[in-house]
Symmetry: D3
Subunit: 329 residues, 6 copies
């Protein structure tokens, strides 16, 4: 997607210019993985125009493979992102109806060939929300992925403007049997599957550890996930968040908590997913995988744009406690 | 429409930012008329979001009335405008499918009330090209306009990406009987109505005066227009154009020709239309009306953005020969 | 006024550019009210030049009526605003001597006609400080306002560079009998009327609730105000303030306190005034009016420029406790 | 003066920012001379504020001496400069009334000490136009300059918004007896002294060589100037000018003519004056002095801002025919 | 190389910012070829730091292969590029001493493996000029290239700041026997090999067709080149150039001449080279190859930055006569 | 040095532009002193090119004397500065090898004449780290400084990328006998001289008062310094630091501690040094000198760029407790 954002803390079109960058759930994960040194590929559909070319150029620059991007369709999805500050929330306006991917067809993707040499497939809940056709394409991809023995991860990423909870529940429930690693934020499990813990109050930011273990366990039990990861965001304000996560793989692991002065939080969840995938693929322990993923995504909050422009070394340094922000010369 | 343009002569997304302004055929005319001191109103349909609010705020700032803009629908139309230079042409990419106006319905507009106290109605050939619904809305507006005795002007503005010549011909021919003043550029008459003169070669920029008189006469004869105005652009390059026009009202008038060093030519035709409407409404003679319209639109080529930010005084000064560009202190 | 500000945290003219926006006490209130959906009008005097045209265009864009702005005089007032950070204070340099409004005459304004259909008149203590002529014009406005039954509000807004405490006291005391709602910050009451509470230390930021009640009561008693509102700013640094207010209408109400990470605090007091006027006009209770006004002005601190670019819905959402800054999608 | 200009070809406040630089007749000359390696000093009055500090910092950076700038007064003069293009003229709005220099007093300047070690004094006709006090200060400076044996040059620089032709004529006539070198553009001689040639048509840009010789001779005869230099601008448009000059020192010399694609023409005249002063002081012949001055000022038209940022070497290279614009590596 | 350039026509560091892009002879050719759809690879040496990573990211984005870039060494070469206008020349300041490539060693490159699957090798005269080590590496590359049957092209590109004519002549003469296609501008042949035609005056821009044929013939005769291409630049000013070329392959072909309004001429020669290589590789006739190369490089003059951001389709359109710059919608 | 920095919190070359300013240890001190009203001079070596001219122009603007800057050599040193946020550290990439100063020779500086009329000489540990030649030049300067009776201060400023601890220890130990006032941060004493206190943990930011006194005493004892000042930075994150210092002159003084919201911390140590020098030269007491230096450097953290753009008045105001950041009107 094309991301159009006012400079700094300006409100939308307060001044006549936009910062124009690219992003979107799966693209963010692909870029992040490439930055960690993994081979990664982004599969979508994009029209034949200069905007799509610019997106592909950007992804390719990050070493993300783009050969299987289907070309055609009407338009590139756009979103407008206004950055909040203090008690003023960030605001996202989507203009992605009729994007090429939202009107893609099964024949646009040859999953058999796409998955050759691949070992992991990641998708987010935004993709099947784009339309029945896309949900169906996702299902086809999942079936082929499992056939070829790929590990599958899914970030629930519920978007209420794209579909109702009922639609989401129905569609996502049909996809979950193919998923090994589930990623969710603190609201998704309830929004999509109606799964919640007793005592949590999301708005207030008061999170109960026990509650999240309960939710993760319920998810893992219902869909037989190998791992369930839940990001835990305490929103003090649009400027300051506490950020941590838990990972449940039969037992529950809780990460360090980072107090983050926010530069740009869009893509935070995606950077967590990428960190987790990279860590698991690298054979890290559950605890380390979780800490890597949280450190990676904490970093993302300090970086402008959707993409998490950090290296594996940087994440490891932070994960190992180097959080003082002293100048590196 | 939202107009997204790279800074200066950069290619699209060569750098990650866009200048974000507003424009579009009829809006450009409305703003231009308001700048000349006329009461003007822009009627369209816009969704309920912050981008639409910004457009309305901008128009209102120019004193263009916006009360009858219908609110609803999915999105604001967008176009991407890359500025050319020398032999590199400017390039426009439209992303306006599914805009609110393109999916508007008859009941979105109460023309009877809209036209109260109005004396002139202007539309461009882009509007009916957006879809049969919009063509139909245009027809309804035209009928009511004539009923209430408004003068009607139309700028043919053929856009080949929106419809075929056949579609354009059929639809526009049905609308022409309501039109008093027809405006066209040197290609429109042929593209829409198949009307051409013997000897003109558009690409080469070689224009024959006689040919244009012939075309205007044929147009006037076929549809009984009171006035036919044709803008005459000699494209030396994307940086330099010669700009003039002719007005046919039974007899043919040719304007002065301006050698223009181009700053931004988008909206040039609209600024001519606005100039002509203003001049006719002000009771200027045919010659003066033409010169006013040409001077106004020559000015537009020196101004960034779709809108012609010049006053009546400035146009009159140029029209009266003050073209030396000496500093005004 | 034209507001010229360096980008970000740069010192004045550290780089050769200015952000150029508009502002000023009463204009800020008018824009804010229009943003809340109220009909509002800004009355001042501006010269006949392009800078004044740009100001009027901007105000009109916000739906602020500008028909009664008197045109003439020498110049537009300017102020230079350097944004502070941490312990470095923001710095404002005024260049408004000889502005059109400061040299306005009684005959520039026909208050009888201006106040037709109006129900509220707001002014700040800056206006009468501009000169005896302007103080006199203010008095004339007040007399006519009362005659026509308008509610009158005044924001004391003492500016030591414009006049001495003695001059302020004398002039403002003569205007107060016409005022229904008085707004002041924690220093104004003392600076203008010598009214203070026993135990307050402004520099230290230590505020005593009882002290403010005492001050408000004294003010109300001396001038028979219906309501006295005092904004309570605890300046932790140029980057962080605590922000709340009290409203005294016979009894004292204290608002919630917001911890604000500051984006731009100029116009904070004006946004409080506008919030209060809107709330009172909307028939909210004293408690709700106060909370609306404080929430509105807390928001202003997160927005660049003088104008409070927030809607009534946004303020109500914050006032109702939605302060976590979570992304709105 | 503080110069506020929109970016590129934008109209004033079309976007909310200004490029903020410095300039003004005598300051421009002082900077230009310093860039040519001459010791130069700028004498004026500036208030005690951060804007004045920034001006002084800038001048000092160019090695212009600022020790005798009198400090005090109300404000720094400002001018707004909108850049024209093609047939759209550049437009300057002055906001310099009540500037510190315009309200300066005799006692602000100790010319006796200022002129110690100086050998040349340059002033423009703008300075005495600021007010009778400043005209008087100029006269005092001239008397002391002559007493100490300085060469005096004056650029007539008539500004119709500052004074009438009558006032200019009276005041300037009293100053001319102290002047050795007179500089004027093609209109000044007529505007200030009513001296004109038979056949010149300024607006049309048609210049007659004989006419200028006649004007120069009349000027020299009336005021006993040693040299009279007249810049000859043919304004084809705001984008293209032909630029040359003549020098009369008993006989008339005409320079090469440069066809200039304009980047910024403000300060063009001042850069000519500085070039001429430098050349004369360097002992160049009349022909060479004229060519140096014209080449220097032709360069100025290609440089943003008031100041002529070119070195003596660059001017000499151009003066010697290196005008092809080939890349210097 | 990292290219640092002031915005627009500002002089170096006139404002405190640089546009930061990438470029350099061979890189420019590689990007251009990739843009035409050819597989291309850039081979150089770059240090291990974030600036080098950014360069590689950019090249990879254009689909230029970067796998054989040797990593190590001290620094990335930098050049500062100030854009000229009118008679003010563009100015380039090199800061590339001690760049990684200039201190590279033979063992940094395994030409045998690099040239696998390659069919063309292009280098410029700048590379061997960086030092004896680099000249030697070039020679090794050439030998291997010939061994593997690649076609070899060389752009003479004499840079007087890097080496003397004597050094250039000696070194380049040793490399020429391996070259099939020689590219030069109108000065290179003389600077490097002392080959000139009778009547040409470079500064004056007066070019004689016969002279160039004579030069090309002499070059071809001395070194047995298959093709000699000479770009013919007529520098009217820094803003306007006429641009054409000749190709000699036994007989002489002269191209169309383009009058170019310059946006950025750096990289013009490289874009010609890339156009020629692409055309020859595509099997175009000599005439068409020349016209393609000239059209491609004419385009480059209208594009900001070193890289020629145009597609094969765009070049073909221009080559086929579509030079009017009319808006493409 | 030329400092190239991305805008805001962007990573290096995330967008294609740099903010381009100047800085470097001793230059920062010289500018700061000049801003406090002291006569100051910067002595270095710079090449003869436009970048060096711009540096000199900037310094001269601040009233720093530049007459003794030796001209010649290859290049200006460059550093790239990426600003960190929250737990992401700032990152500096140096590109200063082969800078003119690093290859300077003894004969480039005539210290005898340079020190005439001087009373203080300051250098940092970076300078001798540039190479043996520069270390030797520093020694020569120190000998002459002592001969002429100047007070000498040194900021240890250990840079591990420039030299090893062993080299630093050997070289710096030879220079220390000439130093009167030693300035160091909390790590330098250990890095350079192996002097540490028992219980300090630098990464954790836990500082023990006693430990620092111990370190200062050891330093003073070993080298007979009159004063040892140690800056105490507690790095909470890249966004927030606590900042204080201690001064040991036989007895230990500890300053107030400032909680700083960081705008730009580069140059923080230099601004402390300048503050201390100014205070000592002004005859302030030890306590006041320390508080002045800490307040000055706390301010620096709120200012963009290397240079501390604050006046003596501003520092005194902060030092006297005015830290609330209230707007100054």
């Amino acid at each position: 997607m094309l991301r159009l954002a006012p400079v700094g803390y300006l409100r939308l079109l307060q001044e006549p210019s936009f910062s124009a960058t690219f992003g979107g759930g799966e693209a963010n994960v692909a870029v992040s993985l490439a930055n960690f040194g993994d081979e990664s590929e982004f599969v979508t559909k994009l029209p034949k125009n200069d905007i799509a070319e610019a997106i592909i150029r950007e992804l390719r620059g990050f070493s993300v493979k783009t050969e299987n991007i289907s070309r055609g369709g009407e338009r590139v999805g756009i979103y407008f992102a206004e950055k909040g500050a203090s008690m003023r929330p960030s605001k996202v306006i989507y203009d992605r109806a009729h994007s090429a991917i939202s009107e893609a067809k099964s024949e646009d993707f040859d999953w058999k060939s796409i998955f050759e040499d691949a070992d992991w497939f990641h998708f987010t809940g935004i993709t099947p929300a784009l339309g029945k056709n896309v949900a169906n394409i996702t299902l086809e991809a999942l079936k082929e992925a499992k056939k070829q023995g790929l590990t599958v991860s899914c970030d629930l990423n519920y978007r209420k403007k794209l579909w109702s909870r009922e639609e989401a529940s129905k569609t996502m429930s049909a996809l979950m049997p193919y998923v090994d690693v589930l990623i969710a934020n603190e609201e998704d499990a309830y929004d999509v599957f109606g799964i919640s813990a007793s005592s949590t109050d999301i708005e207030s930011g008061k999170l109960s550890r026990e509650g999240y273990v309960e939710v993760a366990k319920k998810l893992a039990d219902r869909f037989s996930f190998k791992e369930v990861a839940i990001t835990l965001r305490e929103s003090i304000s649009a400027s300051d968040n506490n950020w941590s996560a838990m990972l449940y793989d039969g037992e529950a692991h809780f990460s360090k908590k980072y107090a983050v002065r926010i530069v740009d939080r869009v893509g935070g969840g995606d950077s967590f997913g990428a960190g987790l995938i990279h860590a698991i693929k690298s054979g890290m322990s559950a605890e380390d995988s979780l800490e890597f993923a949280v450190a990676a995504s904490a970093f993302k909050h300090t970086i402008e744009g959707d993409f998490n422009r950090v290296s594996e070394d940087e994440v490891k340094s932070l994960m190992n406690g180097n959080a003082s922000g002293r100048v590196q010369r």
